[in-house]
């Protein structure tokens, strides 16, 4: 663990590791766009996928190579969809030509089953939160913060908010781009200061006054870092709803650590 967030210096750089993969992003987009998993509008989903990918790069998230492989796969499916079915592949005449999306759909459906199962495990976990036994702490290890961060809201939900903020600002003056007025350290201090004064703030309020893309990017970096360090929590009460930021009240592990 890195301990306290640094509060000065421009050179402070975050590399957040992302534990979600390309299938998570696709399932998220399918849900967000309310499209049928068996009939994915590949053009639209591919476009969105690429947008999220570029946002992740913009935020310097350590994006796994699998995301790029999936981007290539999507492109390939897209191009094969343009061909008439009989020219799509090496299939023999008797065999019906396969929908180019099928392999991907199968993987998504398979993964979704486990995501649903995981959600039921999460319900069990939540029920257990209020039950105490004489046994030691159920999860005593604070060393594994990366396994336990960002559980209230998904990374992709944060990216959706990020996208909205960037869209609102639109393309900006060249002057803005060169005026690097915000450092990560300052934004971290600023966020902590806001939440020292009040219990919570909605993400839309937080970024409402921002005028430059740079400020939005730095704010999101600060936010992600503070969530990772378990200083702040981001909670979403309903799917695709408003995201609320508050101070994290995680117990300072009572057992020996």
């Amino acid at each position: 663990m890195n301990g306290e967030p640094m509060s000065s210096g421009n050179d402070y750089k975050v590399t957040l590791e992302v534990f979600e993969g390309p299938l998570d992003l696709l399932l998220y987009l399918i849900r967000k766009e309310e499209v049928n998993i068996y009939d994915i509008p590949i053009e639209r989903i591919t476009r969105q996928y690429m947008e999220y990918l570029s946002m992740m790069r913009m935020l310097d998230l350590s994006v796994a190579g699998e995301f790029l492989v999936m981007a290539a796969t999507l492109m390939m499916i897209k191009s094969r969809m343009l061909l008439p079915p009989e020219e799509r592949s090496e299939t023999t005449e008797e065999e019906e030509a396969e929908d180019p999306r099928w392999d991907l759909v199968r993987r998504l459906v398979e993964y979704k089953k486990f995501k649903d199962a995981a959600r039921r495990l999460e319900e069990l976990e939540r029920e257990r939160c209020d039950v105490f036994t004489r046994a030691e702490e159920p999860l005593p290890s604070p060393a594994s913060a990366s396994a336990v961060s960002l559980h209230d809201v998904s990374l992709f939900d944060l990216l959706t908010a990020f996208q909205r903020a960037l869209e609102r600002i639109g393309p900006e003056d060249l002057g803005e781009i060169f005026a690097e007025r915000y450092t990560l350290g300052e934004k971290i201090d600023q966020l902590l200061a806001i939440l020292a004064e009040r219990d919570q703030i909605s993400l839309s309020e937080l970024i409402a006054g921002m005028r430059s893309r740079h400020e939005v990017v730095v704010t999101f970096l600060a936010l992600l870092e503070l969530i990772r360090l378990q200083q702040l929590r981001a909670v979403q009460e309903q799917p695709f709803g408003e995201i609320w930021i508050s101070r994290a009240v995680v117990e300072p592990t009572t057992l020996e650590s």
Binding site: F114, C129, A135
Partner: protein, 226 residues
């Protein structure tokens, strides 16, 4: 030889043992304890020398009922093939204040998904898990091993003899499950029908009206193919 003036009821003894135990206690262990105590103490303790598993099950059932009518704030539950005493969930907020505990740490979605794949498909290799999730899971596996929710259960016969992972007793305790059979939706997700499904999978996308939100009940999907 010390005499036991008033012999406690079976339920009392069982309740007392559950109270002091930090882990779930199995019925077999309790049978053993009654036998050992009779051997060691003799006297009245001998009355319980021949206590059977059925006697203990009955005693626990009675204890459960008694605690319920007494509104004791705690109860006996069956978990991880044993019994343990735990507080009622409704009392959680007060206990948390008493213990000066904040929000407990919980597992992240990627960690829970990885854990779900292991729980349902065990024994399972890292490559199989990654085939389902579509992304590397080594860091998450390390964390879950640290948390003792999973363990290495052996090595696969596959080239390179990769590790096989499975869940632990602590996993059952953490989620309050008695056995893996109690995992939600276990029949559908467990490995099994896999072997035949590859051949039978349709070559075109079936017309399914399932909206993306619904849980998908689609049999015959295969774990790994990459």
């Amino acid at each position: 030889m010390p005499d036991v003036p008033v012999l406690p009821e079976l339920t009392e003894i069982v309740g007392a043992i559950l109270l002091v135990s930090r882990q779930p206690v199995t019925v077999d262990r309790l049978v053993q304890v009654f036998k050992q105590t009779a051997d060691r103490m003799g006297g009245a303790a001998k009355d319980y020398a021949a206590v059977t598993a059925a006697d203990i099950e009955a005693a626990i059932e009675q204890l459960t009922r008694q605690l319920d009518t007494a509104r004791a704030g705690w109860r006996v539950v069956r978990v991880a093939q044993g019994y343990r005493i735990e507080s009622l969930a409704a009392c959680g907020p007060w206990i948390r204040v008493f213990l000066e505990r904040g929000r407990p740490q919980r597992l992240s979605a990627p960690a829970l998904e990885t854990l779900a794949i292991i729980a349902y498909r065990q024994p399972v290799t890292r490559a199989e898990i990654e085939a389902v999730r579509g992304v590397a899971v080594d860091q998450i596996l390390r964390n879950l091993l640290d948390l003792q929710l999973i363990r290495v259960v052996g090595r696969s016969e596959l080239p390179g003899r990769p590790w096989l992972f499975g869940t632990t007793q602590k996993f059952l305790e953490y989620f309050g499950l008695n056995s893996l059979d109690e995992l939600p939706g276990v029949d559908e997700l467990r490995r099994g029908a896999d072997a035949t499904s590859k051949a039978s999978r349709p070559s075109t996308i079936p017309p399914a009206p399932t909206p993306a939100e619904e849980p998908v009940h689609e049999s015959g999907t295969v774990a790994a193919e990459d």
